[in-house]
Amino acid sequence: MTGTWGLRPPAFRRVRVSEVSRAFGRSHALFRVSTELHAGTVTAIVGPNGAGKTTLLNLLATLDRPSEGNVTFGEGAGSVTHRAAIRPHIGLVAHDTMLYPELTGRENLRFTADVCGVDPAAVSTWLARVGLEAAADSPAATYSRGMRQRLAIARALLTEPTLVLLDEPLTGLDASGRAFLSETLRELRAADRIVVMVTHHLDWGSSELDRAIVVARGRIRFDGAPPETLADLYAREVA
């Protein structure tokens, strides 16, 4: 059953991270990290600042290369590590908005559609989905933090990616924003997407997440089904 958004089928059903290390200068940001992400799951990555969460996300987004080990997309014969083939199937909401403030919301999405070869009609559907039709034609610079975050999410999902990566998507979102994000995660899970979210907000729990990964000092401390809420997991693993 696909969600109400009717997205195209996923291009791959698994992402495997095998023995991946990433060193910057003389120390390891990530050291021998291994995990597997499956289609139709929402995974939260939590951990103290500088633990290597964003590094892991950048590796998954193929924007950065591991020093050791590799990240494989897909299963068996079809598995691919070559970036160019995988990139069109990756959607990223980075810490920065990745938008052009001088352009309007619609122009920003239209730009992404043109650059990624998506049908321009999708722009208005996504503007509606993220609830930005009203402000669509005013410059993104005039948007509130929450509106910019919604536009960034729309920009990332415009290409209907299989792997959706969110770097602290909740920053700046109000209560309605939080609800919108939960709804989006539910839709993406229903559409068999692989969703990975780096977050500081520990009030997520097993109701919305299929999996939790705790990263501390460049190593994975916990990787499995999340307990009731992330808070106690975090307390146990990290504090």
């Binding site: 290390s21 060193a23 910057f24 200068g25 003389r26 120390s27 390891h28 050291f31 021998r32 020093s67 501390a216 000092r217 460049g218 190593r219 401390r221």
Partner: protein, 244 residues
């Protein structure tokens, strides 16, 4: 637990013949300088200052070799991504600038005496000056950028652009200041002078190779230091992992 220590080089890169190379350089250069002073006759019009020619021109020739080494190693780095190529590129650029500076300093000294002006605007000197500027910029970027992967890539790009520029500068400068005295070619050169020049060229060339090899070794050693720092960090992570 794969914690082997990959070292990029044997500390004897080039093996023991680096010592022979150094000795050969010593012998050749000493012979060359000796011939340049005692065997080769003095030049009729310029007098003894012309003896600068014997290391000035070889240095200029070796400068090209340095920058070409940099460019080829830069292409190799971009294609293969191997740290060794990057080390060789940096060594080539440094030596190119070193000998380039020797040419740019000794040129005016020679010109001041022989032609009465510090700067003759002679095409070859202009070309050497531009090359020097390009690769000094290369070294500045290399210094500013630190040891990151990105800096290596940027320097590889600059190294290739720099060497690609040389023929253009050569043609442009030739066309611009070409009418200057062609000291070497027209009048030819007294036989003894030619012998001294050849030995000196060989000597300076061997000096270039020796220094290049020593610089590559030092560079590889520095890469090793970085690799070992990472090994250290890996062990700390492993220990840290065990403890929690």
């Amino acid at each position: 637990m794969k914690l082997t220590i990959p070292t990029l080089h044997t500390s004897e890169a080039g093996g023991e013949w680096v010592t022979w190379l150094a000795i050969a350089t010593a012998v050749t250069l000493t012979a060359g300088v000796g011939m340049a002073f005692f065997y080769a006759p003095e030049e009729a019009t310029m007098g003894v200052v012309q003896r600068i020619f014997y290391f000035h021109v070889p240095s200029a020739i070796v400068t090209y070799a340095g920058f070409l080494t940099c460019a080829t190693a830069s292409v190799a780095y971009l294609v293969t991504g191997s740290r060794k190529a990057d080390v060789v590129a940096r060594a080539g650029a440094e030596l190119g600038v070193l000998f380039c500076t020797a040419v740019l300093l000794s040129g005016p000294i020679w010109a001041r005496k022989a032609w009465g002006t510090w700067w003759t605007g002679e095409p070859r000197l202009l070309l050497t000056l531009v090359m020097c500027l390009i690769f000094v910029a290369y070294l500045v970027v290399r210094q500013m950028g630190g040891r990151s992967e990105m800096t290596r890539r940027i320097c590889a790009v600059l190294g290739i652009l720099g060497v690609a520029d040389i023929p253009l500068v050569r043609v442009a400068v030739q066309r611009w200041r070409g009418n200057h005295p062609r000291v070497l070619r027209e009048g030819g050169i007294a036989p003894e002078m030619a012998h001294a020049f050849t030995v000196m060229l060989l000597g300076v060339g061997l000096m270039f190779l020796t220094l290049l090899l020593l610089r590559i070794r030092a560079g590889l050693l520095e890469e090793d230091v970085e690799t070992w720092h990472l090994q250290l960090s890996a062990r700390r992570a492993t220990l840290d992992d065990r403890r929690s």
